[in-house]
Symmetry: C2
Amino acid sequence: MRLTKQRKIILERLKQSRRHPTAVQIYDEVRSELPNISLGTVYRNLDILSKEGIISKIETCGDQKRFDGTSDPHLHIICSSCGKVQDAHQEPDIDMDRLTRGETDFKITGVRLELLGICPECNRENN
Amino acid sequence: MRLTKQRKIILERLKQSRRHPTAVQIYDEVRSELPNISLGTVYRNLDILSKEGIISKIETCGDQKRFDGTSDPHLHIICSSCGKVQDAHQEPDIDMDRLTRGETDFKITGVRLELLGICPECNRENN
DNA sequence: CTATCTGCAAAACATTTGCTGAGCA
DNA sequence: TGCTCAGCAAATGTTTTGCAGATAG
């Protein structure tokens, strides 16, 4: 994998970000430094970087995928109203043994767990 | 809410199905009975029925949304390889109290939990 | 040098929407 | 009969892809 200018800047920006941005948000960010970068390049690089395990695609159920500058798994909280994603403070603690007991046909490889909620901003707006 | 022919058949088919179909799969199913139904109608009805709480949109992270003929929450297993969705045997058992401790800014409303795995068919193919 | 990568544009795909005419209640 | 709904097609939004030229190693 080559370290191109584009790839380097995408990675830098994503690592700096705490907001778990979408591809388009990253694209907008990066364009301030590389005005001619194309959205296709951003998508391609996010895909490669996550396949390499350097970043991760967040398994969120919204319409747009979101990305995380780290690849270590941790719990996310998602705002049901605006889609914002935030890291949670607690570690999940799941009894996988109990949960997978009885699932004899599937080969279980993991769980997907995330908290749902309303973020402070949306909470304020709706009141 | 009116009970049109289209809505009735979509609901019937979905209730009979155990495969948690996508909108297009439902569309294909229903067309055997109503050849002129449009995909837009299927989407509109699935949306209305799930807003009414009669069915549910499954919160899966694939590209296509999937639907469930029941609205009571239960655990799903998802095949990471082909996207198939199946009901799990066990009930999740999460210590929400512990998990939400420290999340003071978000108003937590729920969790999203699903098992990931490889289904028997994909398991066979990849070996 | 050359295999990988970029920018661009078009394609692909899921989903939504505007409109007009049809049909449930 | 009136209001909701269906069918159709076009629009939307996200992501992928083909291609020809650029560039990292």
